[in-house]
Structures are given as structure tokens and as C-alpha cells.
């Protein structure tokens, strides 16, 4: 299968060419963040404080990994449901975030922000957490260690597999796929 290789940080030029349904493989640094970390990030932004990482061009992966066994980089590391982050996401795209990775639908506000700020939303396979962990080459907690699995990790990934669900044209892969298959089943 043909995967489009993407290297982080991402630029608008690269992101704008992506279309729903395309398979991509990510390389480079990505950051983890889920419910509690997002709440903290938004609080920092509202207080005008510095974030633990620069958002511009970056990718946030919605994941709370399981602990690594000794000698391993990470435990299981599959995507969590993205919709829980919807409240916080438009703001992050507005500040230069380029991509989010998770699973499941996004709110209309997020889909709008992706179009407006030239971002992308990618889905990874939910529950393929052992398989995905193989593409994580290093993992380091860089913020909020007290949140346990919800801490922000800096991950270095190689050939991290994902699929484009929402693109800069406002397309939605879930809507289109489900519509197509419900019509023929």
C-alpha cells in the first residue's frame, strides 16, 4: 500500500495537499496529550504562560500509554477517543498546531478550525496498541508527570501509521465511508 511519508514539524504546504482517505506514515517528534493535559495546556494559554512545547507545526497524539516493561521504550500506545478533546482543539490549531491523531469523530468546530488554520486530523487504529507501539522509538515525559498516563510525552516515531479523516477542504472520511457502505449493504 502507498503511504505518504510525513516528517514533523509539518507546514501548511504539506498539510494542504493531504486528502481524506490517504494513508500516511509519520516520522519525527510528536507529543502526547489527552483530557487532563489539554485542560492544563489551555489554562496555561489563558494565563499567558509558556507551554511545555512550541505548538507551531507540531502534532498531538491523543494517547495515554500503558507503562513500559523494563528495557522497553513504551507500553501499549493506541489512540483514545478524540471527541473528548474537541472543546480545547480549535484554540490549539489557531496557535499553529498542524495535526492531531486519535480515533472517532470531531465536532464541527474542530472541522472548521482544521479548514481555517490549515491543519489535518488523522486516525490511528483504535485497539492496535501493541502494533502502534512498535513505531515509537523513544519516549520522554516533558510535562505534568503527576498526571500519570495523562502526562505529556515527547515521542520520536518512525513510520507511525495513520489515515487522513479531516482535511483542509472540510472533508470527513467517516461520513463518506459510512454513507457509501450503508447504501450498498
Amino acid at each position: 500500500m502507498n503511504r505518504i511519508s510525513l516528517t514533523t514539524p509539518l507546514t501548511s504546504d504539506v498539510v494542504e495537499k493531504l486528502r481524506i482517505g490517504q494513508q500516511v506514515s509519520l516520522n519525527g517528534i510528536i507529543y502526547t496529550g489527552r483530557d487532563a493535559a489539554h485542560k492544563r495546556l489551555i489554562e496555561l494559554i489563558e494565563q499567558g504562560k509558556e507551554l511545555p512545547f512550541e505548538l507551531k507545526g507540531q502534532v498531538i497524539y491523543y494517547v495515554g500509554p500503558s507503562p513500559a516493561r523494563p528495557g522497553r521504550v513504551i507500553g501499549a500506545a493506541g489512540p483514545t477517543t478524540s471527541g473528548r478533546m474537541d472543546r480545547y482543539t480549535p484554540k490549539l490549531y489557531a496557535l499553529g498546531l498542524k495535526a492531531t491523531i486519535g480515533k472517532g469523530r470531531r465536532a464541527p468546530e474542530v472541522i472548521d478550525a482544521i479548514r481555517q488554520y490549515k491543519g489535518v486530523y488523522l486516525a490511528a487504529v483504535g485497539g492496535a496498541a501493541a502494533l502502534i507501539a512498535r513505531s515509537v522509538k523513544s519516549a520522554e515525559v516533558i510535562a505534568f508527570p503527576e498526571l500519570g498516563p495523562e502526562a505529556v510525552y515527547r515521542l520520536v516515531v518512525e513510520d507511525f501509521p495513520a489515515i487522513v479523516v479531516n482535511d483542509t477542504l472540510g472533508g470527513d472520511l467517516y461520513d463518506e465511508s459510512i454513507k457509501a457502505y450503508s447504501a450498498i449493504l
Binding site: 501499549a76 500506545a77 493506541g78 469523530r105 483504535g126 501493541a130 465511508s177 459510512i178 457502505y181 449493504l185
Partner: protein
């Protein structure tokens, strides 16, 4: 589960869907080899206890013993600690306790423990409705299909759909969770309910959601229904969704 995946792989018509199922099979193999969880969400530990009425537990607090087991199991197994102590303050307890424990007194002198860790993503897509008795079986079917349809890609399809019909508000919810404990695809012992399971299975798999919501035939791997007596005024229906990472372990002491 692997058997369920292989069957789904053969029957899936969507190319994306087939590939996802293939990845889930590979994932299970890697997880076994490397001894890491198939999914990072190793769940809220739900424990069903069947306590024989002739058993007497001595020497300590039984529920604390279960929680100690959870504490050790999640530490030694490198499982994720996913529980916050207060639903609003949301501070992680750090050891995945407390468990949710359901206890039933049964005849005999055995103590049976069924541990069924439950992931949050699919739990969040579950729902309960108090139908009017006049809505009947059609109302039940519509509600169950709507819950799965609205859940769409979120609960990591292919899913297992647990349905509880009857009882009171909380009884229906518990039945729907117990329905998930059944071996994949095992039918209800009541012929009419087994038929309803088949009808719902077919209808859900015509929704087109498919693996991960990317389109296809395999939206549900099974529909399991448990029933109970109902009040003359009520027809409660609960739908508890489980992702494809359905993990149970049983021990008899």
C-alpha cells in the same frame, strides 16, 4: 476473539476494513509475544463475584482483598492506571483501584470471580432508555440500533453489543454488562431472544460503519441480550458497548 476476527476478515467487503482487521490480528500476536496489552486502556476493573452460600470468608475484608489483587495485578502486569478517585476532582489513584464489584450469592460452596476490565472509550458510548411497554420489540430494536449508529467510529468497532432488557433502571444496566461476559456469539437460551440477537446483528451490520468506522460490513462481532422480569409500567433497555478488546478471566476458588 481471534476466531471472530478471522471470520470477519473473510466476510468483510471493504478493503480498508479488511486491512484494519488484519492489523488487529497482528496486534494480538505482537501483544502476546511482547507481553504488552492489546490496548493501552486496560480498563476499570469490573469484578463479578459469585459467592457460594456455604462459603465463609475469614481473616480480612473481602473487597479490600480484591482491590489488593487489582493493585498488584496492574503493577506487576505493567497495566495502565486509569482511575481517578473523585469524578470531578479527577486525581489518579495511581494503582487502578477501586474496582467495581458486583456480588451475587449462589448455592454451593465455590467462590467464582470473573474479572472483566472495561475500557472507557466504548463505555462512554453506552446508553439506557426507559421505553413504554407499548413500544415493544420494535422500540427495543430501534433504540439498540440508534445507540450503535450514534456511537459510529468512537467505540473502536468492530464492537460487541451487550443489551439488557427488563428489570429496573439499574438492573437493565447490569444485565447489559453481564451480556458482555458471554462467549463471543453464544446465543441466548430463549429462542425468541436468540432470534432478536440475530435480527439486531444483521441490522447493525447493515449500518455501514465497519472496522474503525471507515466503512464496511463488520460493525458488530456479536449482539448478546440478557432479560429479566419487568414492571407493568416499564420496558427498560440498556446498551453496553464493548470494543473488540474484550478481556475476561475467570477463576473458581
Amino acid at each position: 476473539m481471534l476466531e471472530g476476527f478471522r471470520k470477519a476478515y473473510r466476510e468483510e467487503i471493504s478493503q480498508n476494513g479488511k486491512e484494519i482487521i488484519q492489523q488487529l490480528i497482528m496486534n494480538a500476536e505482537i501483544a502476546r509475544e511482547e507481553r504488552i496489552p492489546i490496548c493501552q486502556d486496560t480498563g476499570f476493573t469490573v469484578v463479578f463475584v459469585e459467592l457460594g452460600q456455604d462459603v465463609r470468608i475469614v481473616g480480612g475484608d473481602f473487597y479490600e482483598a480484591i482491590n489488593e489483587g487489582v493493585r498488584r495485578g496492574y503493577k506487576e502486569g505493567y497495566l495502565r492506571k486509569s482511575i481517578v478517585s473523585h469524578p470531578l476532582e479527577r486525581k489518579n489513584t495511581g494503582d487502578n483501584t477501586p474496582a467495581v464489584i458486583h456480588t451475587k450469592i449462589v448455592p454451593g460452596d465455590n467462590l467464582r470471580l470473573i474479572v472483566a476490565p472495561k475500557g472507557g472509550g466504548s463505555e462512554n458510548m453506552s446508553a439506557l432508555k426507559m421505553l413504554k411497554p407499548s413500544e415493544g420489540v420494535e422500540g427495543v430494536k430501534k433504540f439498540v440500533v440508534d445507540v450503535v449508529k450514534n456511537a459510529g467510529p468512537n467505540p473502536c468497532p468492530p464492537v460487541i453489543v451487550g443489551v439488557g432488557i427488563g428489570g429496573t433502571f439499574e438492573k437493565a444496566a447490569q444485565l447489559s454488562k453481564e451480556a458482555l461476559l458471554r462467549r463471543l456469539g453464544e446465543k441466548s437460551k430463549y429462542p425468541d431472544i436468540a432470534r432478536l440477537e440475530d435480527e439486531l446483528f444483521d441490522e447493525i451490520n447493515r449500518l455501514g460503519i465497519g472496522p474503525q468506522g471507515l466503512g464496511g460490513k463488520t460493525t458488530a462481532l456479536a449482539v448478546h441480550i440478557e432479560i429479566y422480569a419487568a414492571h407493568i409500567a416499564s420496558l427498560p433497555v440498556a446498551v453496553n458497548i464493548n470494543c473488540h478488546a474484550a478481556r475476561h478471566k475467570e477463576a473458581v476458588l
